[in-house]
Protein backbone atom coordinates (compact mmCIF):
# COMPACT_ATOMS: atom_id res chain seq x y z
CA UNK A 1 0.00 0.00 0.00
CA UNK A 2 2.79 2.34 0.97
CA UNK A 3 4.71 1.43 -2.15
CA UNK A 4 1.69 2.23 -4.27
CA UNK A 5 1.38 5.57 -2.56
CA UNK A 6 5.06 6.36 -3.17
CA UNK A 7 4.68 5.39 -6.83
CA UNK A 8 1.69 7.67 -7.24
CA UNK A 9 3.57 10.52 -5.57
CA UNK A 10 6.55 10.07 -7.87
CA UNK A 11 4.32 10.11 -10.91
CA UNK A 12 2.53 13.25 -9.76
CA UNK A 13 5.79 15.06 -8.98
CA UNK A 14 7.27 14.05 -12.33
CA UNK A 15 4.26 15.34 -14.20
CA UNK A 16 4.42 18.65 -12.36
CA UNK A 17 8.14 18.90 -13.04
CA UNK A 18 7.62 18.20 -16.72
CA UNK A 19 4.82 20.77 -16.94
CA UNK A 20 7.01 23.27 -15.13
CA UNK A 21 9.95 22.85 -17.44
CA UNK A 22 7.71 23.05 -20.51
CA UNK A 23 6.54 26.48 -19.32
CA UNK A 24 10.07 27.86 -19.31
CA UNK A 25 9.79 28.55 -23.08
CA UNK A 26 9.07 32.18 -22.28
CA UNK A 27 9.36 35.04 -24.70
CA UNK A 28 12.54 34.55 -26.65
CA UNK A 29 12.55 37.80 -28.64
CA UNK A 30 12.74 41.30 -27.23
CA UNK A 31 12.72 44.36 -29.46
CA UNK A 32 13.97 47.44 -27.67
CA UNK A 33 13.39 50.78 -29.39
CA UNK A 34 15.92 53.44 -28.44
CA UNK A 35 14.90 57.02 -29.33
CA UNK A 36 17.95 58.94 -30.45
CA UNK A 37 19.00 62.10 -32.18
CA UNK A 38 21.75 61.04 -34.57
CA UNK A 39 24.35 59.34 -32.34
CA UNK A 40 23.03 60.38 -28.93
CA UNK A 41 20.07 59.03 -26.92
CA UNK A 42 17.12 61.41 -27.07
CA UNK A 43 16.70 63.60 -24.02
CA UNK A 44 13.26 65.19 -23.91
CA UNK A 45 12.73 68.88 -23.20
CA UNK A 46 16.35 69.77 -23.91
CA UNK A 47 17.12 72.54 -26.34
CA UNK A 48 20.33 71.01 -27.63
CA UNK A 49 19.70 69.53 -31.04
CA UNK A 50 20.28 71.12 -34.43
CA UNK A 51 18.64 70.39 -37.74
CA UNK A 52 20.09 70.49 -41.23
CA UNK A 53 19.98 74.29 -41.19
CA UNK A 54 21.75 74.50 -37.81
CA UNK A 55 18.46 75.57 -36.18
CA UNK A 56 18.28 74.61 -32.51
CA UNK A 57 15.35 72.53 -31.33
CA UNK A 58 14.01 70.45 -28.46
CA UNK A 59 11.71 67.46 -28.48
CA UNK A 60 8.78 67.36 -26.06
CA UNK A 61 6.80 64.50 -27.49
CA UNK A 62 7.67 61.63 -29.81
CA UNK A 63 5.28 58.77 -30.54
CA UNK A 64 4.83 56.37 -33.42
CA UNK A 65 2.93 53.29 -34.57
CA UNK A 66 4.56 50.12 -35.89
CA UNK A 67 2.34 47.44 -37.34
CA UNK A 68 2.85 43.92 -38.65
CA UNK A 69 6.15 43.54 -36.81
CA UNK A 70 7.91 40.36 -37.94
CA UNK A 71 11.20 38.59 -37.69
CA UNK A 72 12.44 37.28 -41.02
CA UNK A 73 13.72 33.77 -41.52
CA UNK A 74 15.16 32.30 -44.70
CA UNK A 75 11.76 31.56 -46.15
CA UNK A 76 9.45 32.52 -43.31
CA UNK A 77 8.21 35.53 -41.44
CA UNK A 78 7.26 35.07 -37.80
CA UNK A 79 4.88 37.43 -36.07
CA UNK A 80 6.22 39.54 -33.21
CA UNK A 81 3.36 42.03 -32.85
CA UNK A 82 0.35 43.31 -34.79
CA UNK A 83 0.10 46.92 -33.61
CA UNK A 84 2.42 48.71 -31.21
CA UNK A 85 2.29 52.31 -30.07
CA UNK A 86 5.67 53.55 -28.89
CA UNK A 87 6.12 56.63 -26.78
CA UNK A 88 9.53 58.10 -26.00
CA UNK A 89 8.19 59.12 -22.58
CA UNK A 90 7.05 55.60 -21.68
CA UNK A 91 9.95 53.16 -21.53
CA UNK A 92 7.63 50.18 -21.12
CA UNK A 93 6.09 50.94 -24.52
CA UNK A 94 9.53 50.76 -26.14
CA UNK A 95 10.00 47.08 -25.24
CA UNK A 96 8.18 44.50 -27.33
CA UNK A 97 8.45 40.83 -26.41
CA UNK A 98 7.24 37.78 -28.26
CA UNK A 99 7.76 34.08 -28.59
CA UNK A 100 8.88 32.95 -32.03
CA UNK A 101 9.69 29.47 -33.29
CA UNK A 102 13.19 28.23 -32.51
CA UNK A 103 15.42 28.69 -35.53
CA UNK A 104 19.04 29.19 -36.49
CA UNK A 105 18.33 31.36 -39.47
CA UNK A 106 16.76 34.70 -38.61
CA UNK A 107 18.28 37.56 -40.59
CA UNK A 108 16.13 40.65 -40.14
CA UNK A 109 13.03 42.33 -38.79
CA UNK A 110 10.34 44.07 -40.79
CA UNK A 111 7.39 46.27 -39.95
CA UNK A 112 5.25 49.06 -41.30
CA UNK A 113 5.45 52.58 -39.87
CA UNK A 114 1.82 53.57 -39.47
CA UNK A 115 -1.56 51.86 -39.53
CA UNK A 116 -3.11 50.17 -42.56
CA UNK A 117 -6.31 51.39 -44.19
CA UNK A 118 -8.47 48.57 -42.84
CA UNK A 119 -7.61 49.40 -39.23
CA UNK A 120 -8.16 53.08 -39.98
CA UNK A 121 -11.77 52.37 -40.95
CA UNK A 122 -12.80 50.03 -38.14
CA UNK A 123 -14.33 52.56 -35.78
CA UNK A 124 -13.86 52.50 -32.02
CA UNK A 125 -10.96 50.21 -31.04
CA UNK A 126 -9.04 49.31 -27.92
CA UNK A 127 -5.47 48.91 -26.80
CA UNK A 128 -2.84 50.60 -28.96
CA UNK A 129 -5.55 51.79 -31.39
CA UNK A 130 -7.77 53.35 -28.71
CA UNK A 131 -8.48 56.98 -29.71
CA UNK A 132 -7.78 57.90 -26.08
CA UNK A 133 -4.07 57.64 -26.86
CA UNK A 134 -4.23 60.99 -28.63
CA UNK A 135 -3.09 59.49 -31.94
CA UNK A 136 -6.42 59.66 -33.80
CA UNK A 137 -7.68 62.65 -35.74
CA UNK A 138 -11.22 63.30 -34.58
CA UNK A 139 -11.94 65.86 -37.30
CA UNK A 140 -10.79 63.75 -40.24
CA UNK A 141 -10.90 60.09 -39.30
CA UNK A 142 -7.54 58.39 -39.29
CA UNK A 143 -4.55 57.63 -37.12
CA UNK A 144 -1.56 59.85 -36.62
CA UNK A 145 1.34 57.59 -37.54
CA UNK A 146 4.22 59.66 -36.19
CA UNK A 147 3.83 62.52 -33.76
CA UNK A 148 6.82 64.75 -33.15
CA UNK A 149 6.46 67.91 -31.09
CA UNK A 150 8.94 70.36 -29.64
CA UNK A 151 10.19 73.93 -29.70
CA UNK A 152 12.64 75.88 -31.84
CA UNK A 153 13.69 79.53 -31.59
CA UNK A 154 13.56 79.67 -35.39
CA UNK A 155 9.97 78.42 -35.52
CA UNK A 156 7.50 80.79 -37.12
CA UNK A 157 4.54 79.13 -35.40
CA UNK A 158 2.71 80.46 -32.38
CA UNK A 159 4.70 79.88 -29.21
CA UNK A 160 7.72 78.81 -31.28
CA UNK A 161 6.31 75.33 -31.33
CA UNK A 162 7.10 72.49 -33.66
CA UNK A 163 4.20 70.22 -34.45
CA UNK A 164 4.48 67.32 -36.87
CA UNK A 165 1.47 65.02 -36.92
CA UNK A 166 1.98 62.72 -39.88
CA UNK A 167 -0.67 60.25 -40.98
CA UNK A 168 -3.03 59.35 -43.77
CA UNK A 169 -4.20 56.04 -45.21
CA UNK A 170 -5.82 57.30 -48.45
CA UNK A 171 -5.11 59.94 -51.08
CA UNK A 172 -4.01 62.71 -50.96
CA UNK A 173 -1.66 61.43 -48.23
CA UNK A 174 -0.60 57.83 -47.82
CA UNK A 175 2.00 57.82 -45.10
CA UNK A 176 2.50 54.16 -44.26
CA UNK A 177 6.11 53.14 -44.98
CA UNK A 178 7.58 49.64 -44.98
CA UNK A 179 10.84 49.08 -43.17
CA UNK A 180 13.16 46.08 -43.38
CA UNK A 181 16.20 45.94 -41.09
CA UNK A 182 18.55 43.13 -42.02
CA UNK A 183 21.21 41.76 -39.67
CA UNK A 184 23.74 38.94 -39.59
CA UNK A 185 22.04 35.59 -39.21
CA UNK A 186 21.19 34.77 -35.60
CA UNK A 187 19.78 31.79 -33.73
CA UNK A 188 16.78 32.02 -31.51
CA UNK A 189 16.31 29.22 -28.97
CA UNK A 190 13.81 28.71 -26.23
CA UNK A 191 16.10 29.03 -23.22
CA UNK A 192 17.28 32.57 -23.81
CA UNK A 193 16.01 35.87 -25.08
CA UNK A 194 17.51 37.55 -28.12
CA UNK A 195 17.37 41.29 -27.56
CA UNK A 196 17.42 43.45 -30.68
CA UNK A 197 18.08 47.14 -30.02
CA UNK A 198 16.66 49.42 -32.71
CA UNK A 199 17.60 53.10 -32.84
CA UNK A 200 14.78 55.50 -33.73
CA UNK A 201 16.47 58.65 -34.99
CA UNK A 202 14.40 61.82 -34.62
CA UNK A 203 16.85 63.73 -36.79
CA UNK A 204 15.88 61.54 -39.75
CA UNK A 205 12.31 62.85 -39.63
CA UNK A 206 13.62 66.33 -40.31
CA UNK A 207 16.05 65.51 -43.08
CA UNK A 208 16.65 63.48 -46.26
CA UNK A 209 15.12 63.55 -48.71
CA UNK A 210 13.34 66.72 -47.48
CA UNK A 211 15.25 69.01 -45.15
CA UNK A 212 12.83 70.74 -42.81
CA UNK A 213 13.35 74.41 -42.12
CA UNK A 214 11.58 75.41 -38.91
CA UNK A 215 10.88 78.89 -40.15
CA UNK A 216 9.16 77.67 -43.31
CA UNK A 217 7.57 74.54 -41.98
CA UNK A 218 7.16 74.36 -38.21
CA UNK A 219 3.75 72.67 -38.38
CA UNK A 220 2.48 69.79 -40.52
CA UNK A 221 -0.85 68.45 -39.26
CA UNK A 222 -2.85 67.59 -42.37
CA UNK A 223 -2.24 66.12 -45.79
CA UNK A 224 -0.17 69.04 -47.03
CA UNK A 225 3.48 67.96 -46.99
CA UNK A 226 2.65 64.77 -45.05
CA UNK A 227 3.99 62.39 -47.69
CA UNK A 228 7.27 64.27 -47.84
CA UNK A 229 7.74 63.81 -44.11
CA UNK A 230 6.78 60.15 -44.41
CA UNK A 231 9.54 59.77 -46.98
CA UNK A 232 11.85 61.25 -44.36
CA UNK A 233 10.82 58.99 -41.49
CA UNK A 234 11.12 55.91 -43.61
CA UNK A 235 14.84 55.97 -42.74
CA UNK A 236 14.60 56.64 -39.05
CA UNK A 237 15.14 53.04 -37.85
CA UNK A 238 18.46 51.17 -37.69
CA UNK A 239 19.80 48.15 -35.82
CA UNK A 240 21.99 49.19 -32.87
CA UNK A 241 22.91 45.90 -31.27
CA UNK A 242 21.84 42.31 -30.82
CA UNK A 243 22.42 40.53 -27.52
CA UNK A 244 21.68 37.11 -26.20
CA UNK A 245 20.26 37.01 -22.70
CA UNK A 246 19.98 33.63 -21.01
CA UNK A 247 16.73 33.20 -19.13
CA UNK A 248 16.92 32.53 -15.37
CA UNK A 249 16.23 28.91 -14.51
Amino acid sequence: MLRLLRLVCMIVISVIALMGSARISAQNILLRFVPMVQQRPLVLDSLMYQNHFAQLYSVTRFRWYCTNVRILGESTQERIADVILCDAEDSASLRVSATVPVSQGYSGVSFVIGVDSLRNCTGAQEGALDPINGMFWSWNSGYIFVKLEGYAPASSAQGKKLEYHIGGYRPPAICTRSVTLPFQTISVADHSTVQIDIAVDVAQILTQPHNINFQERPVVTDFRYAQEMADNYQDMFRILAIKNIPLPR
Partner: protein, 368 residues
Amino acid sequence: MNTSRHTYSVFVMRAVLVACVVFGGVRTYFLNAEPNGDEDEAAAARERFFRIDSVDVVLKYPEGFPAPLYDVKELRPTPAGFVLGRSLFYDPILSGDYFTSCASCHQQFSAFAHVDHALSHAVIGSTGFRNVPALQNLIWKDAFMWDGAINHLEVQPLAPLTNPIELNETLPHVLEKLRADSSYRELFRRAYGDTAITSKRFLRALTQFMVLMVSANSRYDKMLRKEVTFSAQEEQGYRLFQEHCSSCHSEPLFSDNSYRVIGLPADTALRDSGRARVTGLADDVFAFKVPSLRNVARTFPYMHDGRFRSLNAVLDFYRTTTSLPHDPALRSARALSEREAQDIIAFLGTLTDTSFVRDRRFADPRGY
Protein backbone atom coordinates in the same frame (compact mmCIF):
# COMPACT_ATOMS: atom_id res chain seq x y z
CA MET B 1 -82.37 61.66 37.93
CA ASN B 2 -82.78 58.44 36.03
CA THR B 3 -79.20 57.01 36.19
CA SER B 4 -79.52 54.36 33.53
CA ARG B 5 -80.91 56.77 30.91
CA HIS B 6 -78.24 59.29 31.78
CA THR B 7 -75.54 56.66 31.37
CA TYR B 8 -77.11 55.60 28.11
CA SER B 9 -77.22 59.12 26.68
CA VAL B 10 -73.65 59.77 27.75
CA PHE B 11 -72.66 56.58 26.02
CA VAL B 12 -74.51 57.62 22.88
CA MET B 13 -72.89 61.09 22.91
CA ARG B 14 -69.46 59.55 23.36
CA ALA B 15 -70.13 57.06 20.62
CA VAL B 16 -71.22 59.82 18.27
CA LEU B 17 -68.15 61.83 19.18
CA VAL B 18 -65.83 58.91 18.51
CA ALA B 19 -67.67 58.14 15.28
CA CYS B 20 -67.22 61.75 14.12
CA VAL B 21 -63.55 61.67 14.89
CA VAL B 22 -63.09 58.36 13.16
CA PHE B 23 -65.16 59.42 10.20
CA GLY B 24 -63.29 62.71 9.94
CA GLY B 25 -59.98 60.93 10.06
CA VAL B 26 -60.95 58.40 7.45
CA ARG B 27 -62.35 61.11 5.19
CA THR B 28 -59.23 63.20 5.53
CA TYR B 29 -57.09 60.22 4.75
CA PHE B 30 -58.91 59.51 1.53
CA LEU B 31 -59.02 63.15 0.58
CA ASN B 32 -55.25 63.36 0.93
CA ALA B 33 -54.76 60.01 -0.78
CA GLU B 34 -56.20 61.35 -4.06
CA PRO B 35 -53.18 63.60 -5.10
CA ASN B 36 -50.68 60.88 -4.11
CA GLY B 37 -52.51 58.51 -6.40
CA ASP B 38 -52.19 60.97 -9.29
CA GLU B 39 -48.47 61.37 -8.67
CA ASP B 40 -47.90 57.65 -8.66
CA GLU B 41 -49.84 57.31 -11.87
CA ALA B 42 -47.86 60.12 -13.51
CA ALA B 43 -44.59 58.52 -12.46
CA ALA B 44 -45.74 55.18 -13.82
CA ALA B 45 -46.77 56.74 -17.12
CA ARG B 46 -43.42 58.49 -17.40
CA GLU B 47 -41.60 55.27 -16.65
CA ARG B 48 -43.59 53.48 -19.35
CA PHE B 49 -42.86 56.26 -21.85
CA PHE B 50 -39.10 56.13 -21.41
CA ARG B 51 -38.69 52.41 -20.74
CA ILE B 52 -36.73 50.53 -23.35
CA ASP B 53 -37.44 46.83 -23.81
CA SER B 54 -35.78 44.28 -26.08
CA VAL B 55 -38.38 44.84 -28.75
CA ASP B 56 -37.45 48.55 -28.83
CA VAL B 57 -33.88 47.86 -29.92
CA VAL B 58 -34.66 45.48 -32.74
CA LEU B 59 -33.71 47.22 -35.95
CA LYS B 60 -36.29 46.81 -38.68
CA TYR B 61 -34.75 47.09 -42.12
CA PRO B 62 -37.28 48.93 -44.33
CA GLU B 63 -38.33 47.17 -47.46
CA GLY B 64 -36.56 48.48 -50.52
CA PHE B 65 -33.61 49.93 -48.61
CA PRO B 66 -30.14 48.75 -49.69
CA ALA B 67 -27.86 46.69 -47.45
CA PRO B 68 -26.62 48.76 -44.52
CA LEU B 69 -23.00 49.91 -44.52
CA TYR B 70 -22.63 49.52 -40.76
CA ASP B 71 -22.66 46.10 -39.10
CA VAL B 72 -25.46 46.40 -36.55
CA LYS B 73 -25.34 42.70 -35.72
CA GLU B 74 -21.76 43.08 -34.55
CA LEU B 75 -22.79 46.03 -32.36
CA ARG B 76 -25.67 44.02 -30.81
CA PRO B 77 -27.81 46.85 -29.38
CA THR B 78 -29.34 46.04 -26.00
CA PRO B 79 -31.92 47.96 -23.95
CA ALA B 80 -29.31 48.92 -21.35
CA GLY B 81 -26.81 49.98 -24.02
CA PHE B 82 -29.43 52.06 -25.80
CA VAL B 83 -30.49 53.72 -22.55
CA LEU B 84 -26.85 54.59 -21.83
CA GLY B 85 -26.41 56.02 -25.33
CA ARG B 86 -29.60 58.06 -24.99
CA SER B 87 -28.48 59.40 -21.64
CA LEU B 88 -25.11 60.46 -23.07
CA PHE B 89 -26.74 62.07 -26.12
CA TYR B 90 -28.85 64.35 -23.96
CA ASP B 91 -26.30 65.04 -21.24
CA PRO B 92 -24.35 68.32 -21.14
CA ILE B 93 -21.67 66.58 -19.07
CA LEU B 94 -20.11 65.90 -22.47
CA SER B 95 -19.20 69.54 -22.97
CA GLY B 96 -16.49 71.73 -21.52
CA ASP B 97 -19.00 74.25 -20.17
CA TYR B 98 -21.46 71.64 -18.83
CA PHE B 99 -24.12 73.43 -20.85
CA THR B 100 -24.11 71.86 -24.30
CA SER B 101 -25.11 68.35 -25.26
CA CYS B 102 -25.46 66.55 -28.58
CA ALA B 103 -29.15 67.38 -28.35
CA SER B 104 -28.44 71.10 -28.13
CA CYS B 105 -27.96 71.04 -31.90
CA HIS B 106 -29.52 67.72 -32.84
CA GLN B 107 -33.17 68.22 -31.94
CA GLN B 108 -35.64 65.39 -32.38
CA PHE B 109 -38.55 67.51 -33.60
CA SER B 110 -36.31 68.63 -36.45
CA ALA B 111 -35.27 65.07 -37.36
CA PHE B 112 -32.21 65.78 -35.21
CA ALA B 113 -31.17 68.82 -37.25
CA HIS B 114 -31.18 72.34 -35.80
CA VAL B 115 -34.23 74.08 -37.14
CA ASP B 116 -34.04 77.78 -37.90
CA HIS B 117 -30.27 77.89 -37.36
CA ALA B 118 -28.10 78.45 -40.39
CA LEU B 119 -24.89 77.48 -38.61
CA SER B 120 -24.41 75.28 -35.59
CA HIS B 121 -23.41 76.95 -32.38
CA ALA B 122 -22.63 75.32 -29.12
CA VAL B 123 -20.27 76.18 -26.31
CA ILE B 124 -21.42 79.57 -25.08
CA GLY B 125 -20.55 82.33 -27.48
CA SER B 126 -19.30 80.22 -30.34
CA THR B 127 -20.66 79.84 -33.85
CA GLY B 128 -19.82 77.02 -36.16
CA PHE B 129 -19.23 77.22 -39.87
CA ARG B 130 -21.65 74.57 -41.11
CA ASN B 131 -25.34 73.74 -40.90
CA VAL B 132 -26.36 70.90 -38.56
CA PRO B 133 -27.30 67.85 -40.63
CA ALA B 134 -30.25 65.65 -39.70
CA LEU B 135 -29.53 62.34 -37.99
CA GLN B 136 -31.51 59.66 -39.76
CA ASN B 137 -30.76 56.39 -41.51
CA LEU B 138 -27.13 56.69 -40.51
CA ILE B 139 -26.28 53.03 -41.09
CA TRP B 140 -26.72 53.60 -44.80
CA LYS B 141 -24.07 56.30 -44.97
CA ASP B 142 -20.47 55.56 -45.93
CA ALA B 143 -19.05 58.76 -44.43
CA PHE B 144 -20.25 61.58 -42.19
CA MET B 145 -20.21 65.39 -42.14
CA TRP B 146 -20.76 67.66 -45.12
CA ASP B 147 -17.26 66.85 -46.37
CA GLY B 148 -17.29 63.16 -45.49
CA ALA B 149 -14.33 63.58 -43.15
CA ILE B 150 -15.55 60.92 -40.73
CA ASN B 151 -15.19 57.37 -42.04
CA HIS B 152 -17.04 55.32 -39.40
CA LEU B 153 -20.20 55.91 -37.38
CA GLU B 154 -18.56 54.91 -34.08
CA VAL B 155 -15.96 57.68 -34.25
CA GLN B 156 -18.35 60.37 -35.47
CA PRO B 157 -19.07 61.66 -31.93
CA LEU B 158 -15.37 62.44 -31.49
CA ALA B 159 -15.57 65.25 -34.05
CA PRO B 160 -18.06 67.54 -32.26
CA LEU B 161 -16.76 66.38 -28.88
CA THR B 162 -13.26 67.69 -29.48
CA ASN B 163 -14.17 70.71 -31.61
CA PRO B 164 -13.43 73.88 -29.60
CA ILE B 165 -16.53 75.56 -31.05
CA GLU B 166 -18.90 72.64 -30.41
CA LEU B 167 -18.52 70.62 -27.20
CA ASN B 168 -14.96 71.77 -26.54
CA GLU B 169 -13.81 68.71 -24.63
CA THR B 170 -11.24 65.94 -24.82
CA LEU B 171 -11.94 62.24 -24.81
CA PRO B 172 -9.80 61.52 -21.71
CA HIS B 173 -11.49 64.29 -19.73
CA VAL B 174 -15.00 63.20 -20.69
CA LEU B 175 -14.27 59.64 -19.57
CA GLU B 176 -12.88 61.02 -16.32
CA LYS B 177 -16.11 62.96 -15.71
CA LEU B 178 -18.22 59.89 -16.42
CA ARG B 179 -16.11 57.71 -14.13
CA ALA B 180 -16.60 60.18 -11.30
CA ASP B 181 -20.38 60.00 -11.70
CA SER B 182 -22.04 57.16 -9.79
CA SER B 183 -25.13 57.15 -11.99
CA TYR B 184 -22.98 56.65 -15.09
CA ARG B 185 -20.99 53.89 -13.41
CA GLU B 186 -24.32 52.18 -12.83
CA LEU B 187 -25.51 52.75 -16.41
CA PHE B 188 -22.25 51.30 -17.75
CA ARG B 189 -22.53 48.36 -15.39
CA ARG B 190 -26.02 47.62 -16.65
CA ALA B 191 -24.94 47.94 -20.25
CA TYR B 192 -21.61 46.12 -20.12
CA GLY B 193 -21.52 44.01 -16.96
CA ASP B 194 -18.97 46.05 -15.00
CA THR B 195 -18.22 49.69 -14.25
CA ALA B 196 -15.20 50.03 -16.53
CA ILE B 197 -15.77 53.17 -18.63
CA THR B 198 -13.62 52.98 -21.76
CA SER B 199 -13.63 54.95 -24.97
CA LYS B 200 -14.88 51.97 -26.96
CA ARG B 201 -17.82 51.41 -24.61
CA PHE B 202 -18.62 55.12 -24.57
CA LEU B 203 -18.56 55.47 -28.36
CA ARG B 204 -20.46 52.27 -29.03
CA ALA B 205 -23.18 53.17 -26.54
CA LEU B 206 -23.78 56.39 -28.49
CA THR B 207 -23.70 54.29 -31.65
CA GLN B 208 -26.41 52.00 -30.27
CA PHE B 209 -28.60 55.08 -29.88
CA MET B 210 -27.80 56.34 -33.38
CA VAL B 211 -28.26 53.13 -35.37
CA LEU B 212 -31.89 52.87 -34.27
CA MET B 213 -32.70 56.26 -35.85
CA VAL B 214 -34.43 54.85 -38.90
CA SER B 215 -36.89 57.07 -40.76
CA ALA B 216 -38.98 55.16 -43.30
CA ASN B 217 -42.57 55.88 -42.36
CA SER B 218 -43.40 59.10 -44.18
CA ARG B 219 -46.42 59.66 -46.41
CA TYR B 220 -44.14 58.80 -49.30
CA ASP B 221 -43.24 55.44 -47.72
CA LYS B 222 -46.89 54.76 -46.96
CA MET B 223 -47.77 55.59 -50.55
CA LEU B 224 -45.22 53.04 -51.75
CA ARG B 225 -46.77 50.49 -49.41
CA LYS B 226 -50.18 51.44 -50.86
CA GLU B 227 -51.47 52.55 -47.47
CA VAL B 228 -52.22 56.10 -48.66
CA THR B 229 -52.59 57.82 -52.02
CA PHE B 230 -50.95 61.04 -53.08
CA SER B 231 -52.91 64.09 -54.10
CA ALA B 232 -52.73 65.06 -57.75
CA GLN B 233 -50.15 67.75 -56.95
CA GLU B 234 -48.02 65.38 -54.90
CA GLU B 235 -48.14 62.84 -57.73
CA GLN B 236 -47.07 65.45 -60.24
CA GLY B 237 -44.35 66.64 -57.87
CA TYR B 238 -43.07 63.09 -57.43
CA ARG B 239 -42.89 62.61 -61.17
CA LEU B 240 -41.01 65.89 -61.63
CA PHE B 241 -38.71 64.99 -58.72
CA GLN B 242 -37.77 61.71 -60.33
CA GLU B 243 -37.07 63.48 -63.59
CA HIS B 244 -35.00 66.40 -62.28
CA CYS B 245 -33.72 65.62 -58.78
CA SER B 246 -33.24 61.94 -58.19
CA SER B 247 -29.95 61.54 -60.03
CA CYS B 248 -28.39 62.89 -56.83
CA HIS B 249 -31.27 62.62 -54.35
CA SER B 250 -31.96 59.02 -55.30
CA GLU B 251 -34.64 56.90 -53.67
CA PRO B 252 -35.14 55.42 -51.14
CA LEU B 253 -32.53 57.25 -49.06
CA PHE B 254 -32.87 60.47 -51.10
CA SER B 255 -29.10 60.78 -51.34
CA ASP B 256 -26.53 58.87 -53.35
CA ASN B 257 -23.79 59.60 -50.78
CA SER B 258 -21.81 61.52 -53.41
CA TYR B 259 -20.18 64.95 -53.19
CA ARG B 260 -21.35 67.54 -55.67
CA VAL B 261 -20.52 71.06 -56.74
CA ILE B 262 -23.86 72.70 -57.43
CA GLY B 263 -22.83 76.25 -58.26
CA LEU B 264 -23.51 77.91 -54.94
CA PRO B 265 -21.58 81.20 -54.78
CA ALA B 266 -18.81 80.76 -52.24
CA ASP B 267 -19.35 82.37 -48.88
CA THR B 268 -16.34 84.66 -48.63
CA ALA B 269 -16.59 84.86 -44.86
CA LEU B 270 -16.70 81.12 -44.21
CA ARG B 271 -14.38 80.10 -47.07
CA ASP B 272 -15.38 76.50 -46.77
CA SER B 273 -13.79 74.38 -49.48
CA GLY B 274 -15.95 71.35 -48.65
CA ARG B 275 -14.80 67.93 -49.79
CA ALA B 276 -11.48 69.36 -50.96
CA ARG B 277 -10.62 69.74 -47.28
CA VAL B 278 -10.43 65.96 -47.12
CA THR B 279 -9.25 64.90 -50.57
CA GLY B 280 -7.13 67.86 -51.60
CA LEU B 281 -8.50 67.53 -55.14
CA ALA B 282 -9.23 70.65 -57.19
CA ASP B 283 -12.43 69.07 -58.50
CA ASP B 284 -13.70 68.76 -54.94
CA VAL B 285 -13.46 72.45 -54.09
CA PHE B 286 -16.94 73.55 -52.96
CA ALA B 287 -18.24 70.00 -53.28
CA PHE B 288 -20.49 68.93 -50.43
CA LYS B 289 -22.28 65.70 -49.56
CA VAL B 290 -25.73 65.27 -51.04
CA PRO B 291 -28.00 65.35 -47.97
CA SER B 292 -30.97 63.06 -47.61
CA LEU B 293 -34.21 64.94 -48.22
CA ARG B 294 -36.22 62.87 -45.77
CA ASN B 295 -37.95 65.17 -43.29
CA VAL B 296 -36.68 68.13 -45.32
CA ALA B 297 -39.72 70.23 -44.46
CA ARG B 298 -38.59 70.15 -40.83
CA THR B 299 -34.87 70.81 -41.27
CA PHE B 300 -34.76 74.38 -42.65
CA PRO B 301 -32.61 76.33 -43.39
CA TYR B 302 -30.93 74.52 -46.23
CA MET B 303 -27.49 73.83 -47.74
CA HIS B 304 -24.18 73.28 -45.98
CA ASP B 305 -24.23 76.80 -44.57
CA GLY B 306 -27.98 77.16 -44.15
CA ARG B 307 -28.18 80.00 -46.65
CA PHE B 308 -31.68 79.20 -47.92
CA ARG B 309 -34.51 79.80 -45.49
CA SER B 310 -37.18 77.93 -47.40
CA LEU B 311 -37.69 75.26 -50.01
CA ASN B 312 -38.95 78.02 -52.29
CA ALA B 313 -35.55 79.65 -52.06
CA VAL B 314 -33.88 76.32 -52.84
CA LEU B 315 -36.03 75.70 -55.90
CA ASP B 316 -35.49 79.29 -57.07
CA PHE B 317 -31.74 78.65 -56.90
CA TYR B 318 -32.01 75.46 -58.98
CA ARG B 319 -34.17 77.25 -61.54
CA THR B 320 -31.63 80.05 -61.99
CA THR B 321 -28.89 79.88 -64.58
CA THR B 322 -25.42 80.20 -63.16
CA SER B 323 -22.00 80.64 -64.71
CA LEU B 324 -20.24 79.10 -61.69
CA PRO B 325 -18.95 75.52 -62.10
CA HIS B 326 -21.67 73.03 -61.34
CA ASP B 327 -22.70 69.44 -61.87
CA PRO B 328 -24.28 68.83 -65.30
CA ALA B 329 -27.11 66.87 -63.64
CA LEU B 330 -28.55 70.23 -62.55
CA ARG B 331 -29.19 71.58 -66.02
CA SER B 332 -32.64 70.16 -66.56
CA ALA B 333 -34.00 71.82 -63.41
CA ARG B 334 -33.47 75.27 -64.94
CA ALA B 335 -36.49 74.75 -67.14
CA LEU B 336 -38.89 74.14 -64.24
CA SER B 337 -41.80 76.52 -64.11
CA GLU B 338 -43.04 78.16 -60.92
CA ARG B 339 -45.99 75.79 -60.88
CA GLU B 340 -43.74 72.77 -61.26
CA ALA B 341 -41.50 74.01 -58.46
CA GLN B 342 -44.56 74.17 -56.18
CA ASP B 343 -45.47 70.63 -57.16
CA ILE B 344 -42.02 69.42 -56.20
CA ILE B 345 -42.25 71.22 -52.88
CA ALA B 346 -45.59 69.54 -52.27
CA PHE B 347 -43.94 66.20 -52.91
CA LEU B 348 -41.06 67.04 -50.57
CA GLY B 349 -43.68 67.61 -47.87
CA THR B 350 -44.59 63.93 -48.12
CA LEU B 351 -41.12 62.98 -46.92
CA THR B 352 -41.93 64.10 -43.38
CA ASP B 353 -42.02 61.13 -41.00
CA THR B 354 -43.95 62.21 -37.92
CA SER B 355 -43.54 58.82 -36.28
CA PHE B 356 -39.78 59.39 -36.35
CA VAL B 357 -39.78 62.91 -34.91
CA ARG B 358 -42.16 61.77 -32.18
CA ASP B 359 -40.64 58.37 -31.51
CA ARG B 360 -40.60 58.08 -27.71
CA ARG B 361 -37.41 56.02 -27.78
CA PHE B 362 -35.40 59.04 -28.90
CA ALA B 363 -37.09 61.56 -26.63
CA ASP B 364 -35.21 63.50 -23.97
CA PRO B 365 -35.25 61.21 -20.92
CA ARG B 366 -34.86 64.17 -18.62
CA GLY B 367 -38.53 64.72 -19.19
CA TYR B 368 -39.16 68.33 -20.04
